[in-house]
Symmetry: C2
Subunit: 217 residues, 2 copies
DNA sequence: TTGTTTCATTGACATTTATCATACCTCTAC
DNA sequence: GTAGAGGTATGATAAATGTCAATGAAACAA
C-alpha cells in the first residue's frame, strides 16, 4: 500500500492511521507550510510535486530538494523544537495526507522496526545533503547547473525530455546561483548542443557531456 | 552517567554496553575513520576534540563540525549502506569508546524511547546542517569567518580566549574559503581590533562586532 | 651545523560570479 | 486596445574570491 517508510507500520497502526489521517489539495504555487511555523503534522505526498526550500533574510532561497508522489515531508523539528525548518510549496496541483505528529510519534514508540526504518529514511536524506554541500562548495556554476539538470532528469522526471513548472529563479535556487547566471549557463549549454530548452520544456541531448561537466567542472 | 543520548538506555542495556564496549586512544592528527570505509561501530568521545570533514576530489575538504567530550559520532551510513560518509580525525589526544553497530541497532529495536531520542539527536544535527548551508550560501567571507570564530568560542572552547590545534587550513575549511583568504580576513579582524591572534591563540576582543559581522556582513 | 619539511604570510593577478540596467515577451485586467 | 505585472533574456560593470608565486618562520632529522 505505502511505497515509503510507512509500509513498516503494523496493521493496527495502518487502520489507526486510516481513521485519523486527512487529505488536503493544494494548487500550483500554494504554500503548504512556512519555515518557522509550528510543526503539527507529518505530510505524505499522494500526488503532485513540491519544493522544499530554506529562506534566509531577504535574499534568494535555497531549494533543498523536490518531493514527488510517495515521499514524506517530515523535518528536523520532529521531537526537537516542533517547528518547521524549511518551507514547502506546491509546484503542481498536489494532494497530501496529513498525519498528526503525536500520532506519528506514537507509531515510533509502539513499533521499533518502524522507528529503525524511519532513522534510515532520515539518514538517506542526510547523505543527499552531504552530496549537495559538496556540489555547492566544490563545483563551479557549470557543474552545479549540470547537477541540477541531472537531478531533474534522473530523479524527478525520469526522462531526458521533460516539461517543468520550475521557473528560472527556481532552477537558480536549486543550483546556488542568481537567475541571470542560470539563464546564461542554460544558454551556453543550448549553444553547445548539450540541451534544448524552450520556455518550460527541457530536452537533454547529450547526457554524457552533461555528466562530464558535473564530474569535472 | 552518560550526558548524551545514551542516557536513555535502560539499565540492562547499560550493563550490556559496559561489557561489550571497548576503548581506544588516538593521538593528535590520527585518523579514526575515513569517508567510504565500512561503518562497524558507533563512537562516543570520552575525551579530546575531533574534526568531522567531507573529502571530495583532490581539493579542499569541508569541516562539518567539531566533536568534543560527551558527543557521539554516528553517521548517516547507519542502517543504510553501513559506510562512513565523512572522515574523522583527532585534533587533540583523544579517548574514544567503540560500540558495535549491531549492538547499537539492537538497543534501538529493544528500546523505543531510546529510538525516539536518537531520532531527535539526528534531527538536531540536521538543523545545524541547515544553518551551515545558509551561512555558506548567503554570507560572504567576513560573515563566514565570523560564524566560525563564534562557533569556536561559544560551542567548542566556551571562552573568548582560546588556544587551538586547528591550522589556518582547518579554519579555512570550516569557513568555506581558501587558507589565503582565511589568513587575510583574520588579519583584517586583527587590524580592526576585533580579535587578537598569535599563532594558535585567539582572543576575541569585540564579540558584539563579530556577531554583527556574522549577522550583516 | 645544515638541509628539509611544513605551515603561515603577503602581494600581484586572474577568474568567477553577482549586480545593475534595460529590453522583450506573454499574460491579464481594465 | 493598452497598461501593468511577472518572467525571461542580454550586456556592461563591479565585487568577491581563488590562484600562483615568493618569502619567512618554526620544527626536526641527518
Amino acid at each position: 500500500m505505502f511505497t515509503n517508510v510507512l509500509r513498516y507500520l503494523n496493521s493496527d497502526q495502518i487502520s489507526d492511521l486510516e481513521q485519523n489521517k486527512f487529505n488536503v489539495s493544494f494548487s500550483q504555487g500554494e504554500t503548504i507550510f512556512k519555515q518557522g511555523a509550528p510543526m503539527t503534522h507529518i505530510i505524505v505526498i499522494d500526488k503532485g510535486l513540491l519544493k522544499v526550500y530554506l529562506e534566509s533574510g531577504l535574499r534568494h532561497s535555497i531549494i533543498l530538494r523536490l518531493l514527488k508522489s510517495g515521499e514524506i515531508a517530515g523535518g528536523p523539528g520532529f521531537h526537537t523544537d516542533y517547528r518547521h525548518h524549511f518551507s514547502l510549496m506546491a509546484l503542481e496541483d498536489t494532494e497530501l495526507t496529513f498525519i498528526d505528529i503525536n500520532k506519528f510519534e506514537s507509531f515510533i514508540l509502539d513499533n521499533s522496526i518502524f522507528a529503525l526504518e524511519f532513522i534510515a529514511y532520515l539518514n538517506k536524506a542526510h547523505i543527499s545533503f552531504y552530496d549537495k554541500l559538496k556540489t555547492i562548495q566544490h563545483k563551479q556554476m557549470n557543474g552545479r547547473m549540470a547537477a541540477t539538470l541531472c537531478y531533474l532528469s534522473d530523479n524527478i522526471y525520469k526522462s531526458n525530455n521533460f516539461e517543468t513548472n520550475l521557473s528560472r529563479q527556481d532552477i537558480a535556487d536549486m543550483s546556488a546561483m542568481t537567475k541571470e547566471s542560470a539563464i546564461r549557463i542554460l544558454k551556453n549549454f543550448k549553444d553547445s548542443g548539450i540541451i534544448e530548452c524552450e520556455n518550460n520544456t527541457f530536452n537533454i541531448l547529450n547526457k554524457d557531456s552533461l555528466m562530464d561537466i558535473f564530474e569535472n567542472g
